[in-house]
Symmetry: C2
Subunit: 218 residues, 2 copies
């Protein structure tokens, strides 16, 4: 185990990292509506999050507000976008061009948040060699040739659950360091590999359940 | 505030609800590989989750395993799918046919998990009246006419952040009871309305940050 002080890395808590994009979108909105300065009180009102929590979260990105005025909107938007990595282009490969995979290939919105899908991989002969939204689809066996010098470090996993672990192992063997896992399968990776789970189906399950509860109350 | 005993509703903790789809996918995989029975010890090994936690989570769906054998795979798969709402068809409307909205309209995979998008709404004249993947796109002002009898209760929110709150208010006024919010904006709703936030950008931010930390360690 490494301590937080190693290489001066300060580990930012995940809840903070998840709240920062909320602040960003709210500040953008306030700026759009003519606000030049944004206070944590205003942000608190807009987001429902405690003002002291907001100040604490923002302290990680080392911006400081002016007393009684707040943060300068333009400045903090830039600082947040930089900090969150949205202003740098991160290239990624996508694995599994099914329904969801194909949908993500068509989603140009991701590039506004710093993610560019450079290529996709699949096993189906009929789609290998074609393109979706200008993104080439390769045979998954060709990953080592395509990812020369292990240049690309992010893999988006959208394969059927039956292949989730095998494809993950293959990605990692070929230099992928971060897996954005859209499958409802809990993949296992070596300790130094980053995994971000985004299971739309788990979110659906929560929503159906909560909706059902509310219906029963009526 | 209502207590848990009202109308016999047992409120299932959200972490449990999020883990259940993981169990489901792992059990499906084990069954595919020839397993007829699944024990919580096996599930624990496959998912990395404590076996006692798994047993506790599964107790919510009122299935019981056989001592030293475990749960019957076919039975528990059906029980989990029913419990999670994946076997019933829930109709939904989608609001905002941009990049992500269009991608979700093209994702037929959602219907396997019980979600069917019955219609989409936008403000742009050039797409109103057209279809994507067989799903009609309506003028957002026509929502009350299209949602006759407030038949459809789920709204998928994929509008730009600037419109997120207004569109949410409009949905709720027209009978939507659950909002699946894909925007990075924290929407506000009346107490009885369910909100499920799925911010892909927040997940991206976490992944970029963690990847960066790992790179710095090297």
């Amino acid at each position: 185990m490494r301590s937080n002080s190693d290489n001066n890395i300060i580990k930012i808590p995940e809840p903070t990292l998840r709240r920062l994009p909320w602040y960003l979108s709210n500040i953008k909105l306030m700026k759009e509506q003519g606000g030049h300065f944004v206070s944590s009180t205003q942000l608190s009102k807009a987001t429902g999050i405690d003002a002291s929590q907001i100040a604490k979260d923002l302290s990680y990105i080392k911006v400081s507000g002016k007393p009684r005025v707040g943060y300068e909107a333009t400045y903090i938007i830039k600082a947040l976008e930089d900090f969150l990595g949205f202003t740098r282009q991160h290239e990624a490969f996508l694995f599994g061009v099914g329904n969801l995979g194909g949908a993500l290939l068509n989603d140009n919105g991701l590039s506004q948040f710093g993610l560019k899908i450079a290529g996709a991989f699949d096993v189906r002969k009929e789609i290998i060699g074609t393109e979706i939204n200008g993104i080439p689809i390769y045979d998954i066996n060709r990953l080592p040739d395509v990812n020369t010098g292990a240049r690309i470090k992010i893999g988006i996993l959208t394969v059927p659950i039956y292949f989730a672990q095998n494809v993950t192992d293959w990605m990692v063997a070929c230099g992928i360091k971060a897996v954005w896992n859209f499958t409802p399968f809990r993949i296992r990776v070596p300790e130094n590999i980053v995994v971000q789970n985004t299971s739309l189906y788990a979110h659906l399950a929560v929503m159906f359940n909560r909706l059902n509860e509310e219906e029963l109350k009526r």
